[in-house]
Symmetry: C2
Subunit: 273 residues, 2 copies
């Protein structure tokens, strides 16, 4: 099995690639994790210019020798290349697993909407830098290489359709050609480093969208590193979610083990079991 | 003439109300500026609880003795009450001018979509605290009371249809029941205190929206107090706007004299002359 790593958003360091490769050798022997050179490029905010990142993604996705495309890390940048990338994908791209989260959500959304490959929200190589980050890498590898059930968000059972997104990213793709049809899906949402008033505003946006109102329910992952606001917003993220779910008539289905941290579980889009 | 001030977002101080009232007495004699007591309330993040803010807005908008509803200031909160407010407006609300900007954009959008009253983007009483803020107040009063042409964004000429919004607010109302039909309009956008990568992401969102692509063009107001990012985003707001306008096939029509500052000119929605 061969996993190709590309960085449609921001770059990672070679040290991260080396340590992830070593973890793969230990925990998934026989699996090759191939980091595209593009992962290490720097261009302003991005891991290379738009064209360079798009080319690396397309080259990897269209390579029939590669079984899975693993997003290197989040940050910002994948919305700038998503439409071009999707238009250039061929047959081999459909026979592949895609794993990432956060800013990668723009591409996961577009892939899922287009029915290309098997799409999942979960840990990325860049998570290695988090506290206990190695556990996230090993979890991702266990799911990519052998579909390990323990890697999955526990609520995902037989026949449950799901999708997971960063709140801000999902908000910013609503109404664009990347917005997937999530009718009948459990929509799992998480975020990091957002003021609570922004999360509240994004939930207004998300739950007011007529297509989103067709989900079977919303689950809340973790909202971590919420900056202090003056005055305090006065509601927790769970209160914010309950407020907007009640107002929009969407079922609130509780908490999910998903977030910007090493505990982040895998959420395959669609039906996972 | 009577102007009613309400605060659908965050509160103002009584000192601001007193100084605005004094400016009105000096520059618009015979005009009464009536600050609703709700403007001075505090409830967590907001100028009173949702119901309290909604009630004050509806009471003022539905009062036939009041000619104009002036938003006290921005902040955050109007999206939480917009749909309820709009559903409760009666005939007198349609015979009124509405002036505000920033977070008030959620309500301006919904009013304009519903064809209620005369809607405009422009200075608010809370702007008094800005450097040279008195000039913004006097400008707003000159337009509200006598339709002073010098108060208007200069590009607005005969027959030009326009609308203006805060970038983040406009992004967050796309696809909701508040999104107005801006076909054939010049869309003027401004923002404050947003990282440039966020402005770039919001422009992806805005210019990818099929309804937004029917505008006659986009103008860029000011993006002020942009926080420094590491690494630097490497593009100015004008470069960001040109990038997304080119990609989406929307005409970029240059700069507008609109923003979170005392120079902020008035942009009546629709055709202003």
């Amino acid at each position: 099995m061969r996993i190709g790593v590309v960085a449609p958003s921001t770059p990672i360091g070679r040290d991260v690639a080396e340590r992830v490769t070593a973890l793969a050798a230990e925990h998934a022997p026989g699996v090759e994790v191939r980091f595209h050179e593009q992962c290490f490029l720097g261009h302003r905010h991005f891991a290379g210019a738009d064209r360079v990142r798009a080319d690396a993604f397309v080259e990897t996705a269209n390579d029939p020798q590669i079984n899975a495309l693993w997003f290197a890390r989040g940050g910002y940048g994948s919305c700038r290349i998503a439409e071009e990338v999707l238009a250039r994908l061929g047959a081999a791209a459909g026979d592949k697993t895609y794993l990432g989260y956060s800013d990668a959500g723009f591409l996961l959304a577009g892939l899922y909407r287009a029915g290309i490959g098997k799409v999942a929200h979960g840990p990325m190589p860049g998570d290695l830098r988090r506290e206990n980050g190695g556990a996230a890498i090993v979890r991702a590898l266990s799911w990519l290489t052998r579909g390990e059930p323990k890697a999955l968000e526990p609520s995902l059972g037989s026949g449950v359709k799901a999708a997971a997104f960063n709140i801000t990213v999902f908000s910013q793709l609503l109404g664009t050609p990347l917005q997937p049809d999530l009718q009948g899906h459990v929509l799992i949402l998480e975020d990091v480093s957002e003021y609570m008033y922004r999360t509240d505003r994004a939930l207004f946006h998300i739950t007011s969208n007529p297509a989103v109102r067709k989900v079977s329910g919303i689950m809340l992952g973790r909202c971590s590193e919420v900056p202090q606001n003056d005055p305090d917003f006065g509601e927790t993220e769970e209160e914010v979610f309950r407020h907007w779910c009640t107002r929009s008539g969407i079922a609130f289905l509780g908490r999910a083990d998903v977030g910007h941290d090493a505990d982040n579980k895998v959420v395959p889009f669609g039906s996972s079991c």
